[in-house]
Symmetry: C2
Subunit: 470 residues, 2 copies
Amino acid sequence: MVKITGSPHPHADNEDRHAREVASMYGLTPKVEVAIRYTIQNQQWNRLRMLVDPLHPADKADFLERISAEDLRILVRQLGPDFDAEILPYLHEEVRENVRDLLDPDVFAASLPELDSDDVVTIAEELAPEQLNEALAALPAQERVLVEQSLAYPEDSAGRMMQREMVVVPPFWTVGQTIDFLRSSELDRGEFYLIMVTDASGHPVGEVRLSKLLCTQRPRRIAEIMDTETRSIPATMDQEEVALLFRRYGMITTGVIDEEGRLVGIITLDDIIDVIDEEAEEDLMALAGVSDASIRTSVLETFQGRAPWLFVNLITAVIASVVIGFFESTIEKVVALAVLMPIVASMGGNAGTQTVTVAVRAIAMREFSPKVAVTFGLRELYVGIANGLIFAVVTAGLSYVWFGDAQIALVLGIAMLVNMVVAAISGTLIPLSLVKLGVDPAIASSVFITTITDVIGFLVFLGLAALYLL
Amino acid sequence: MVKITGSPHPHADNEDRHAREVASMYGLTPKVEVAIRYTIQNQQWNRLRMLVDPLHPADKADFLERISAEDLRILVRQLGPDFDAEILPYLHEEVRENVRDLLDPDVFAASLPELDSDDVVTIAEELAPEQLNEALAALPAQERVLVEQSLAYPEDSAGRMMQREMVVVPPFWTVGQTIDFLRSSELDRGEFYLIMVTDASGHPVGEVRLSKLLCTQRPRRIAEIMDTETRSIPATMDQEEVALLFRRYGMITTGVIDEEGRLVGIITLDDIIDVIDEEAEEDLMALAGVSDASIRTSVLETFQGRAPWLFVNLITAVIASVVIGFFESTIEKVVALAVLMPIVASMGGNAGTQTVTVAVRAIAMREFSPKVAVTFGLRELYVGIANGLIFAVVTAGLSYVWFGDAQIALVLGIAMLVNMVVAAISGTLIPLSLVKLGVDPAIASSVFITTITDVIGFLVFLGLAALYLL
């Protein structure tokens, strides 16, 4: 046990100890990794198995993601029929695809029944139709039906996320009966956190936390101890909504119901983590104009994802250039304008992006109400005015020192103030309007805000210059 | 029960039904909200209580966050000693501060013992020293010690997040003994998901999942059924590391140990959600140059958080302007350069931001290894070349049509290609180098990348023009 003392920002000495401490929490330490690589290079297959077998599937997945395509091929082939199916859900989609192609189709199909139904659904979603049929055929009939039912729900819905395995008891059972049932079952390998209670027609009537069940005397009825103020999630609900509900009410696990209100599955918080990561990533990437977030995507796919965004940016840049073009003769006479004009546009663009980013995040977290939006808009306006005034003075002073021209300085200052205020107003209105129009504000806001601040920045600065300087 | 069929993008008709469906999942429906506001306006305090009491604390918190400061004052005063302490952990920090100031200090202090120790710690962190002493004094002696111990750990550490309430048994107990102990305890009000097993000196030796406990016959020993391959988290570990571990291994709950390796608390996945949200938000905000992400921050604090970033941006904009300044005489002769130059800078800045954003996210998710970094860098380079070539041709063609000058078109095309490639290379190297230097790449990358693409864009475009056009 390494003894750690110190702050979250330890000194170099502690830093080292801290890094080792963190590394020791992972099964796949650098030492183990080096040893595994060595066995692959030297074809020591028995030793390889000895090293890999005890690792957590998450660690095995991590290792597979970090080795070369060639080593991946060798490793998967070598493991062959012993390939640990539990690795599959932990892999990134791109790597999972590679592994799937390397595995013998029979081995792949045989691995699916070992997984929870929600993991099977995740993997099945990625398969081509004929692969999917093959994979489904390999499942026991009962599980196949469950997976097919899940796949019938829309993509990214609760129905796709839910796990079908669950423990369901009737409300008239006693605690003792329930425990005896559990003891006689083979459920002890699975993990579950709740016992669902349904009526005869399969509609949920309550839930019993396991901690409650354990703390209750045997003769008491489930109906007496079950929690009836629970939320069942419709299977068609979008995963983002599900994640918001879980966050809001601090839920750990909850039931999912079909259109007739019958209990069909459960969702547990660990499935929600993936959704939260995905949604956060989507917003981050959309604001930066990136369609595919992964560092593993191929060159071609990355190019296809990026080029359209750059094309949109080109259009906005050309619009800004057209505005500059109106003032060619002004620039020809006062070339200092060409030197200073990017400052106005850049400051406006940055201020606008600040406002847009805060608004987009708050929209994603459902924090806006009409009242809150007004308060937010006013705050942004005041901040825009304050920053506008300060940077008007700073840039005007700077340009006066540089070019020694008070009129240019004045024009620059006014343009700066106007553009910062415009940035604040449009930075608020653009994302909120996009939501009203049903467009994802994360995707379109950046483009709109920079177009507006570029155009207004150049227009006001060069326009005022044309009016007053010549 | 509303019956829903359809796709994740339903038509207007379904959209409406869908919105109602989602709203019905929340306790605080628009109807309830209107009713509550009405009772406040009409001072119907009994009816107010009747409406508010049955709501989930999360819903009460949400309501408090959405009403005016005046209504908040009235509501908190009216609820007085009946104020539901469970609301406090669900409030945003700013609103919690307001509520705290409105509550009678005795009522506030009396509310703390009702909360879990991790929630008390969260609230205690925000208190001024004398408030903190008062609040701690109100806690029962035993709980006070626990909270003080937690507060002794560094901010944002596992020790601050952990909950001190947990169920601990020795390994030699039987399942039956454990269940009898739970039944005789008063634990049934609390929620727990694991039973921790420690030796006589308090060191963790295993964990028992409640589902496993329930599925096992009474005579079996805890030692036989406990899971010994568990991870105990050091209390000093940073919360971001804790979140990564939970994600990696799909953990629901785990033990926390002190420097001597003794079990001191547990962390559950729902606490991790807040950390994940916080970290995602921090990266998003840092990339956009925003220090404070909340839409509730005051004008002054928002201004103080934004102005420094804008000042940094001003410096980079001025550097770019200085570069333009070198070529004043060139621009004076060929004013079309002033019109076209922002296009080169803007495209480079956008392409660079795309690369930086993907890299920053991957760094946050610990996805980089040296091998992966090389693959990523090469991919970005190829994509940069591909986009550079395409946009070189497009912009060169555009400028030829616009200004009818083949030489300007050629210079623009070359500058575009160079800047896109520079964007790809620096977009990869900047965040990875910042990590090596121990600087948060999310914070500093944006500034560096735009400075580089602005400077290189203007320099190459105007420099080539100066060399070949005149």
